[in-house]
């Protein structure tokens, strides 16, 4: 085999990756536009885009001023933040899922394995029932902030408990995370038992919903998710090598302990930031990484961006379907993700010729 026979296909792959990213970005834009236009109040699609374009400096001057103020409020204050939130949460959960499945070398891992979900749930429950933090923040903000703080705190505790000398064995981390999940869920159950009316609010939060998101939620979560995902992306090659196991990764020049710290911290941050505004949306963080692996292969350099884009696309779609399907009521997005995503995932697995790997 001469050099060009290896080289050309190899460098072709980078071009192929570019095409994948461009296609997924286009798909995301389409889904985004569709989702903003959809909703119980009929607003002509052209008006929707006019309202959005109007907000962009310079470009806005070319849009007519005959747009209604009600429509503008619905698009800008209700739909746009909600669709953006779906995108942010979708990106965060999918990327965190990729990282944890890779680091733990476990196809069952998802962003919640280290106790984030139950930690956030406990924080949210405390905020709902006792109004913890509410006096200064108001309930709309005390829930996300309590959820965020408790989520981070839980993972930190799980990490410290798992620590052995200088390192953290991943299997220990996984087990302690599972134990923490069980323990915290038990506490949440106790709170629910004695919470009276508030039990519905807790359950709704635990299902995951984007119904109440506003611009402040976006401002709270977007910076964390952007920074976290960027950091993780720059460790993509290291994550590839970690799939060989920690000892081999170290022999290839990867500082495994440092990598674990940085990527787990980033994954925790982005998951906590998204869970705090959306509640616990299941399935996305587990299945999107697998879907992306089936479609683009195991290399984290393409796996991370394509998972991020797919996560955003799928979550926006699911949330929009949830809004439309039982109008004027809504189905929580967490239910839609499972009801629609699982059959699609099974289809993908069946279609694949080789047994699933990660």
């Amino acid at each position: 085999m001469n050099s060009s026979q290896i080289e050309i296909p190899y460098f072709k792959r980078f071009a192929k990756w570019k095409i994948i990213i461009i296609l997924l970005t286009l798909a995301l834009m389409l889904v985004f536009i569709f989702a903003v236009a959809a909703g119980p109040t009929q607003i002509p699609p052209l008006n929707t885009y006019g309202i959005i374009i109007k907000q962009i400096p310079l470009l806005g001057n070319f849009v007519g001023s005959e747009l209604s103020l009600t429509e503008e409020t619905i698009v800008l204050q209700v739909r746009l933040p909600r669709v953006l939130a779906a995108a942010i949460v979708g990106v965060a959960l999918a990327v965190a899922g990729v990282v944890l499945q890779g680091l733990l070398r476990n196809p069952m891992a998802d962003p919640y394995v280290l106790g984030i979900s139950s930690g956030a749930g406990l924080g949210a429950s405390l905020a709902i029932v006792f109004g913890a933090g509410a006096p200064f923040l108001g309930l709309l903000y005390s829930i996300p902030i309590m959820a965020f703080v408790f989520a981070i705190g839980t993972v930190l505790l799980v990490y410290l408990i798992s620590k052995r000398g200088e390192g953290v064995p991943m299997v220990t981390l996984l087990l302690v995370g599972m134990a923490a999940n069980s323990f915290l869920l038990a506490i949440i159950s106790v709170i629910k038992l004695f919470s009276g009316e508030a039990v519905h609010a807790i359950m709704a939060w635990m299902f995951g919903s984007l119904a109440t998101t506003n611009w402040n939620h976006i401002k709270m979560s977007l910076p964390f998710v952007m920074i976290g995902v960027t950091v993780i992306y720059f460790f993509a090659r290291d994550l590839n090598i970690m799939l060989l196991g920690e000892e081999q990764a170290q022999n290839l020049g990867v500082d495994a302990e440092r990598l674990k710290k940085i990527t787990i911290a980033s994954a925790t941050l982005i998951t906590a930031a998204s869970v705090s505004i959306s509640g616990i949306i299941g399935f996305i963080g587990l299945i999107i990484p697998h879907m992306a692996r089936i479609l683009v292969g195991p290399d984290h350099r393409i796996l991370i961006p394509s998972s991020a884009l797919s996560g955003a696309i799928v979550l926006i779609l699911c949330d929009t379907i949830g809004r439309m399907i039982v109008r004027p009521a809504e189905l929580p997005v967490g239910i839609i993700t499972s009801l629609l995503g699982v059959p699609f995932f099974i289809y993908l697995i069946r279609k694949k010729k080789r047994p699933i790997s990660w």
């Binding site: 290896i6 980078f14 022999n251």
Partner: protein, 431 residues
């Protein structure tokens, strides 16, 4: 001149000491075999050098730089490891895996350059893995995987190559292929190669020197010829072994014979004397020893295979000079030895004028009442080079009551019966 220096290293797993006071130096272009029984610290030694297990005391110095003071990437540029077995659970291609060897050379924000690809490609050519480049690595055979991992290690362009039993799970052809390749690369690129071996013969064939570990300490170190000797093998592995130089390859080879564990099944003081030669007695000596009997042999010429085996097994033997007829003196000595035996076995050895006296001795012993077994798997006519004299003596033995047996199994059975009888009479005597 690249040198790897291990000086005074102590290593622990928790509170268990795994290595103690390990000191040695290796120079470029050398293949060093690490030998020793399970749990002696072979893999631990490799892990200490590869920075996976930090020594509590002592240092690992590569060209006088402490490897534990290097950055992870610098260490990976200098030291590459080929692990014993790797589970690949993902769909990376062989080329992807080999390119991982370039990781220490690639900037965090960069990606593989054409140069990296060229180096990976060359490593794959050297290891004959180029045709596998596009194949998912988890679909390769064990030998192919091992070759890909060696290619990955070479892509690191290291000074030191550490291998943990590189060929254990491979077929003989792959073993030779991989070891030939390693030797070639070691010499061509002036690498330091340290490899753990289970197979003495492979080590003897390819190593310049060896380190024999026992319970975390260096038991013996030096040239492979100095380290691989019967005494060392006996002490460290608790087995008797024959170590010889192969006439064709001129390399040492090791044949394990038996463990040193005393045979507790059968405490017997029965001695069996074997008249043999030309290799006809060797298997029987080993079998009888294993069954718990004492064995003696003679008269045998030095250089005779049976003589060698008897000496290796520690069997008392009456020796004659090479290619010489049995002298009167040795004939007497042999008779004396036979008198102490409980039984005599004559194997199907060819008889010439040189060893005819052994048959005379057997006749004499039989006359004194010592049970004699004659193995005649090969008809005497085919192995009588004395114009019928040997045949005459054998017939006489038969006439006087020697038992003729056709196989080793039959012989062992008869010896067993004899043993019971002897024990019985012994018991009667006590009563």
């Amino acid at each position: 001149m690249v040198t790897l220096k291990i000086s005074g290293v102590d290593c622990y797993y928790g509170s268990i000491k795994a290595l103690e006071n390990i000191t040695f130096t290796v120079r470029e272009g050398e293949i060093v075999g690490i030998l020793g029984p399970n749990g002696s610290g072979k893999t631990t030694l490799l892990r200490t050098i590869s920075r996976t297990l930090k020594p509590k005391v002592g240092a690992v110095l590569l060209d006088d730089v402490n490897v534990y003071k290097m950055s992870f990437k610098d260490a990976a540029k200098n030291i590459a490891v080929v692990p014993q077995e790797t589970m690949f659970t993902f769909d990376f291609t062989s080329l992807d895996v080999v390119l991982m060897g370039r990781h220490p050379y690639i900037d965090r924000f960069g990606r593989e350059s054409r140069e990296d690809l060229a180096i990976a490609k060359k490593a794959m050519e050297l290891t004959n893995t180029s045709p596998l480049a596009d194949r998912p690595v988890n679909e390769l055979s064990g030998g192919e995987k091992q070759l890909v991992l060696i290619a990955r290690a070479l892509a690191q362009e290291p000074k030191v190559l550490l291998l943990d039993e590189p060929t254990t799970h491979l077929d003989i052809n792959h073993q030779i292929e991989i070891m030939d390749l390693l030797r070639e690369i070691c010499k061509a690129k002036a690498l330091i190669v340290l490899a753990v071996f289970h197979d003495f013969n492979l080590a003897a064939r390819y190593c310049d020197s060896a380190i024999l570990l026992n319970r975390g300490r260096i038991y013996s170190i030096g040239s492979i010829d100095a380290v691989l000797n019967t005494e060392n093998i006996r002490k460290v592995f608790q087995i008797n072994a024959i170590i010889k130089r192969h006439p064709i390859t001129n390399q040492l080879y090791v044949i394990p014979l038996s463990t040193l564990k005393p045979n507790i099944n059968r405490a017997t003081d029965i001695t069996i004397h074997i008249i043999c030669g030309g290799g006809t007695g060797a298997p029987l000596m080993k079998k009888l020893l294993e069954q718990g009997y004492f064995v003696t042999a003679g008269v045998l010429n030095t250089l005779d295979t049976d003589h060698d085996v008897a000496c290796t097994l520690g069997i008392p033997v009456v020796s004659e000079a090479p290619f010489s007829p049995i002298t009167e003196e040795n004939y007497r000595a042999n008779l004396e030895m036979m008198n102490k035996a409980s039984a005599i076995v004559v194997t199907s050895v060819p008889f010439g004028y040189g060893n005819l006296l052994n048959l005379k001795a057997a006749t004499e012993a039989l006359e004194r009442g010592i049970p004699t077994f004659v193995m005649d798997e090969v008809p005497i006519k085919q192995r009588d080079f004395t114009k019928g004299e040997a045949e005459k003596l054998l017939l006489e033995l038969k006439r006087k009551g020697a038992a003729f047996v056709g196989s080793e199994a039959e012989l062992l059975h008869l010896v067993g019966i004899l043993e019971k009888k002897l024990k019985g009479s012994l018991a009667e005597g006590v009563q």
